[in-house]
């Protein structure tokens, strides 16, 4: 076995491991978010395992589809889950290494995100119910404002590296820690964080724990889903949340991530990478949940303002990366 092939295999192993870790950890992250909120509110909480239990329970159930729903009702959950899995493989969470044929390019990642977003939107529309349509319309409005911000923010981060692939960006920050506190980088990460909060339907953009249909965004779209379909949609959404949160965590604190190095990352590096990303993501989950506790949901018409603000920050990051480095 030549060195090149061995490297290739190692990379594939790394990517598979990364995907598995993210899939296993994503429901736990949701559990962490809920538990932290519960503790802040003085409740006992449901425990970290509950999202996993919910998933298992739903996966065992046969999906019921609303009358009048089309093929979208069962294709969309698959697409949502698929895009989540693809994201887990592409985005550098455990390792910055990626197979050459699967480019973890910024534009590819954003496209994958968008595919999931659109699938979710179509799922909401499919049954033809008022709530689903309402949720989809809000969801796509927000998405239209979020995606450019994500693009722009990551682009600002890519300027000092000279590559739009996420792996080298994270590696670049690891190699030059000064970049982490550089103004352009700070602005970009702040913008990205806001975009991630909006993209993953958290407070203050959406309230994941509300029962009020009229205020829902994400929840309104999945009202008609049930059983395995609901499990797929939920897991897909949780994967997005985990991957994006881990990405932000890796950008802010790049240490510990397994770098591509020569011939792919070794096992010790991967093990360290797994531990590091779990700790970092859990920590950012705690921060996110804590911030949510002390925040209220924005008025729907204020959401574009928030997102415009994050867009402006991302824009300033791009100009700033030319102006003040």
């Amino acid at each position: 076995m030549s060195g090149e092939v061995a490297g290739e295999v190692r990379v594939v192993v790394a990517v598979v491991l990364q995907t598995v870790v993210v899939v296993v950890a994503a429901p736990f992250l949701v559990g962490v978010l809920r538990q932290v909120r519960a503790r802040w509110e003085g409740r006992v909480g449901q425990g970290l395992l509950q999202p996993w239990r919910d998933l298992v329970k739903l996966a065992r159930k046969e999906p019921l589809q609303a009358s009048g729903s089309t093929v979208v009702a069962w294709v969309a959950p698959v697409v949502v889950l698929g895009s989540g899995l693809l994201l887990a493989a592409l985005v550098p969470t455990v390792t910055t290494a990626g197979p050459a044929r699967l480019p973890a390019d910024l534009f590819v990642v954003v496209s994958v995100l968008l595919v999931g977003t659109v699938a979710l939107g179509l799922l909401g529309l499919d049954a033809g119910s008022a709530f689903g349509g309402m949720g989809s319309s809000r969801h796509l409005t927000i998405a239209a404002l979020v995606e450019p911000t994500v693009l722009l923010a990551v682009y600002a981060l890519s300027v000092p590296v000279g590559s739009t692939a996420l792996g080298p960006i994270v590696e670049g920050r690891l190699a030059d820690p000064g970049r982490v506190v550089a103004p352009a980088g700070v602005l970009a990460v702040v913008a990205l964080a806001i975009a991630v909060v909006a993209e993953t339907a958290r407070i203050p953009v959406d309230n994941p724990s509300t029962h009020l249909e009229l205020t829902m965004v994400h929840e309104a779209m999945v009202l008609e889903s049930s059983g395995r379909d609901l499990a797929a949609v939920e897991l897909g959404s949780w994967l997005r949340l985990s991957v994006l949160l881990a990405l932000v965590a890796n950008l802010v604190v790049p240490w510990g991530v397994a770098t591509a190095g020569d011939g792919g990352p070794g096992l010790p590096a991967l093990a360290l990478g797994v531990v590091a990303v779990v700790v970092k993501t859990a920590a950012s989950g705690v921060v996110l949940a804590t911030a949510e506790v002390f925040m209220a949901k924005l008025r729907l018409f204020r959401v574009p303002e928030l997102l415009t603000g994050s867009f402006v920050l991302a824009f300033l990051a791009v100009t700033g990366s030319y102006v003040i480095g």
Partner: protein
């Protein structure tokens, strides 16, 4: 401090100023401008100190202290200081209530206009500032020259805040951001104007803010509204041709 550290610090502080300027444009009518203004003031003071260290001019440390106190503490406090009248008649503390519990009063806020145009405008203005500052950055070398467009950007964003501010407080905030922009430009481009001028300028700014605060509360009295942030200045329509 090596020149690399200095330039990194200058860039960080300048970035902080820019961020706070955007936050001030972003802020809704109910949130206080005090925090961002104070951060901006301290960032400016830090900038002065860094320049003082880099250029070995102890007098700049003194100026940094002055700037820090004035723009980091005094002016932001002045801007949010509510005229005592707006606090309303203080209810006499009832005997059956602990003194710490103040009665609930309806906060006098209004729902502001959308900030989207202002935010987008601010982004455009930063680009304009970058272009406008190009000739100056040719003259001023080093890290300070690199960050100089931030000063221009602050001037322009401050101007936009001032021009679009509907309340006396938002106009004051715009004025202070504008002034911080000029000061940033001054320190980045020249390492500070002569001390006498600096003192005079600081005094002037302080007095102007004081004067505007007094006038703002007089406007509140004359136009009979005590919203925090001052009366809607769109009401000022008595004088026109």
């Amino acid at each position: 401090m090596s020149s690399g550290d200095a330039s990194q610090a200058v860039a960080l502080l300048a970035g902080l100023e820019l961020l706070t300027a955007v936050l001030l444009a972003w802020r809704g009518p109910a949130s206080s401008p005090r925090g961002p203004l104070a951060v901006q003031g301290f960032a400016l003071a830090g900038l002065v100190a860094v320049i003082g260290v880099a250029e070995g001019e102890p007098v700049l440390w003194l100026v940094a202290l002055l700037v820090g106190v004035l723009k980091g503490v005094v002016l932001p406090t002045l801007v949010v200081r509510r005229p005592s009248r707006a606090a309303g008649p203080a209810a006499p503390p009832a005997a059956d209530r602990p003194a710490t519990v103040r009665p609930v009063v309806r906060p006098a806020v209004v729902r502001g206009r959308s900030r989207v145009p202002l935010l987008l405008g601010a982004a455009g203005l930063v680009v304009v500032a970058y272009l406008a500052a190009r000739p100056v950055t040719r003259v001023v070398t080093g890290a300070t020259g690199q960050a100089l467009p931030v000063g221009f950007a602050l001037v322009l964003v401050g101007f936009a805040l001032l021009a679009t501010g509907r309340r006396s407080q938002s106009q004051l905030v715009g004025f202070l951001v504008l002034d911080n922009g000029i000061a940033t430009t001054a320190f980045l481009a020249t390492g500070g104007v002569p001390l006498v001028v600096e003192l005079g300028v600081s005094l002037d700014v302080l007095l102007v803010v004081l004067v505007l605060q007094v006038l703002g509360s007089r406007i509140d009295t004359a136009f009979g509204a005590g919203a925090p942030g001052g009366t809607d200045l769109d009401q000022l329509r008595e004088l026109h041709d």
